[in-house]
Point group: C2
Amino acid sequence: MDLFTAESSPLQESRRQWVPPRPRVLHGPFHIVDESPNAATDTVPSSDVHKAFKHLKGRSAVQLLAASSNGASHTNGASSGAATKDSTNGHSKELPSLRIGIVLSGGQAPGGHNVIGGLLDYLLERHPGSQLIGFKNGPGGILTKSFMDITEDIMAEFRNLGGFHIIGSGRDKIEKEKDLEQAASVVKELDLDGLVVCGGDDSNTNAAVLAENFAAKGLKTCVIGVPKTIDGDLKNSQVATSFGFDTACKVYSEQIGNLMMDALSAKKYYHFVRLMGRAASHITLECALQTHPQAAIISEEVHQQGKTLADIVDEIADIIAKRAEEGKNYGIVLIPEGLIEHIPQIGALICELNDLLADVTTDVDSHDAVMTRLSTANLAVFEFLPASTRQQLLLDRDPHGNVQVSRIETEQLLLQLVAVELEKRRKESKFCDNFAGLTHYFGYEGRCSFPTNFDAAYCATLGYAAGALVAGGKTGLMATASSLDKPCAEWKVGGYPLIDMMCIERRRGKDKPVIRKALVELEGPVFTAFKQMRSKWAQEDCFRSPGPIQFSGPNADGANFTLALELNSNQPIQIS
Amino acid sequence: MDLFTAESSPLQESRRQWVPPRPRVLHGPFHIVDESPNAATDTVPSSDVHKAFKHLKGRSAVQLLAASSNGASHTNGASSGAATKDSTNGHSKELPSLRIGIVLSGGQAPGGHNVIGGLLDYLLERHPGSQLIGFKNGPGGILTKSFMDITEDIMAEFRNLGGFHIIGSGRDKIEKEKDLEQAASVVKELDLDGLVVCGGDDSNTNAAVLAENFAAKGLKTCVIGVPKTIDGDLKNSQVATSFGFDTACKVYSEQIGNLMMDALSAKKYYHFVRLMGRAASHITLECALQTHPQAAIISEEVHQQGKTLADIVDEIADIIAKRAEEGKNYGIVLIPEGLIEHIPQIGALICELNDLLADVTTDVDSHDAVMTRLSTANLAVFEFLPASTRQQLLLDRDPHGNVQVSRIETEQLLLQLVAVELEKRRKESKFCDNFAGLTHYFGYEGRCSFPTNFDAAYCATLGYAAGALVAGGKTGLMATASSLDKPCAEWKVGGYPLIDMMCIERRRGKDKPVIRKALVELEGPVFTAFKQMRSKWAQEDCFRSPGPIQFSGPNADGANFTLALELNSNQPIQIS
């Protein structure tokens, strides 16, 4: 027995063997049934969206219904699109072999391997002789024709495990006419019946562009999207959640819970924790519900209320001062990484800095040169920032000369400003206790962890559904699983038109149809739940520690609070 | 059902109900038997140690043996010390009630609550009517007579959970004559039969001082130590491991494993990870065996080989350059937080800086002033450091004016220097690939996590043993559990004299008897195992991901590789 040289841990070995539960409908024969055309869509696609997607417009959402169920009467077999195959699927009736490509796009999210596994299961079970082609290192792999065959032998190494490394991921977009031509030529050459794209809002917008393009060219290749992002900001009425969000939040909540117990034991530190989530604060919000911190800043609220950095600093300092009166000089503050961009005054400052820095004729590298050129309002904001942040704003620029906002360590920034504010109060005899802070950034650790049982089952279902949708000749849909508040066996499975999630946004000076990012809804059930509790959590020690993700036993199968609240469930969600 | 307002997570609830396994000998009646006096000790205590501990010298290690076992013939009941009670313990024979105090000392380590729980179990089961007194916030709570009664009602909230917050911890030492008098007066006033001290090497040295002092004063209060430190540097021939090490390493290894899968998926970053362990690198070494990184720096090796910072930077750069030749521009580098102090040239620099900075008559706050005063050799080292580190060395000083070495972000330092070195090689056309690095510090997250089943059982056993040793009138011992490579039922339980772990070290200009810190042994089985594998791990992608700690199922009960290798076990350790 070799103790430590084996390349897999016992848990890796054991997870590979695990078989995720599967919705009942996917166990037997099923039909793909169009939803009634007047089913609600998330946006009323403007004529501009329809103009950009002439071949996708008018397509329905679909559901997979057991072939023996009542829904069978609505069976819509070879519906619109390039479909030429019978859309009834079943073990009893073997269907022609298929060739499907899959690509992973953007940042890693736990569960990606299971999407591929679910898709492979579909092909192996229902279309013997099929071929699953994995494009390597993201959409760029389509353009360069870099791919590999994914067989069960290969897949077995990755089932229920984290990471995207079976084929890798990448951030290329296929948007330029030249690239669209190349992609069309590659899928034609590879004779692909379908292409499955796992990605966030941008990548799924791109999937719709590909679907439209292939359809316009008369290619048979259907394009199906799968909602992936740990940030949780790709969701809508028909897409309950993006995969990876559940796992990532649990990884971060484990660490935050540990820090809380440390804060409570040592009684001398405030921990300022930055969490992932640049556009939306869903992760911070879920982690707050999981752990009950003293403060959790939600970017969307800051933006809506037009809060200044000084407002936020003041609020945190107030909490710390009030706790100090009760002898409690410790606690936890959660901060979404995107916060700084959502503070209107900082946004204005960055905007002016970008203009100044882009003006290559002036030397504004030096602190003083910038100070003399900034407008009075922005100068006041700039001077409020700690020296280290001012330096980051001036020196860290991207290739276009823009300030690299994502490089700013917001947790450091806030900690420094809070310390300054408390020092000020001390001089005014309004605060007379110790304040000591530590900072943390929980980010990369959550992107490739072992998926929770929920994410593992959800992803396998989405992958399986994607295969079924391709076989049914459906294109331009996102694979969906719904009724997620019920046990997995009862989940509904289907597809939802990508263009029904779209709206027109101005990007780089052009109107563009894009999938809308789902931000935290300030009137929604999740933020409302947080708002009801936060002043209690600020003052009292209600620390909650979720502990490490469990894969077996009674604590294995629960899903996150965000999902439960959004699905109106008053019970914790259990998939089995 | 309230989804998120309950202050406990389901896993917290569930862990509280769990009953850790217990060595068989603790289930029935047992004797406390002296080991033969010629049993090996870890040091041959010098006459100086014996001079300092006149009342403790000559005491034997002891074992708890089942009353019915053969060992009974060696029974040594009321042996040396203040013991006046029968040392045979059993359910069948109720013993007088006891009053025992417990104190947690130093940094948090997972399992502390279970030591207290084990001690309480001992008292409840074998000495009805006893009282367990928890001193609050560390040894200082003894001096200020700040304490609470720990009843089963209170204890039940904390069993198998992380943190030290049931009574808190602290870093005070009871060393001055005045404090020793005060401690003696308090334990006398509280009529304590025993005082149990959970701590690291320093705190257990302090426990021996207290034991000696109480014995010298003729007090009945026995003092028993319990080995606590996540750093793993309190161990010897009779103490296999300190509690908390197993859990902390697993928490860090989970995160490192996640980063590895991210590195392997994104294929564009080197992650430089700083881990806890200032004096010893056991954590870094165990995490390396668990995860197979590209490089793991072991302070003890750096020190022994007299490596310079440039040597270390060169070695890392060599690995990166060699991997780049195979197109692999990603990986993981593990760094113990104490590294910088173990590099001889940096030690010399810091020494001179401390002298310079202590000289208040000279203004050496400015960079230039320091540059002109440093010796040539130290100036060269200083100039090699990145600007941010130079600034940290000059500005961050402790109240004594010393450089705050622990504030230096060694992972940042190494990343910056490696980037500079690779840039240099690029100019010499020896490196022509991309290099991008990210830094992480995994520290506080590991100190208060839910203890593993191993740590939970080990701690409960040590607490139970501590109670038995007090009841047996033993003092100046550390509670021990051995044969840890066997299932918990077969563990041996006993006590080992604290002074047998001691040697004389020069501290602050004085010879002082102290418990020797256990550093990584460069000829030992753990480092040897790492040495055999590291070049393979550097070059190939052998990434291993241990995943989150499991509490039930087949992956729940294993202990760490360090322990297995040191116990010569060729099987993974399973406690059940």
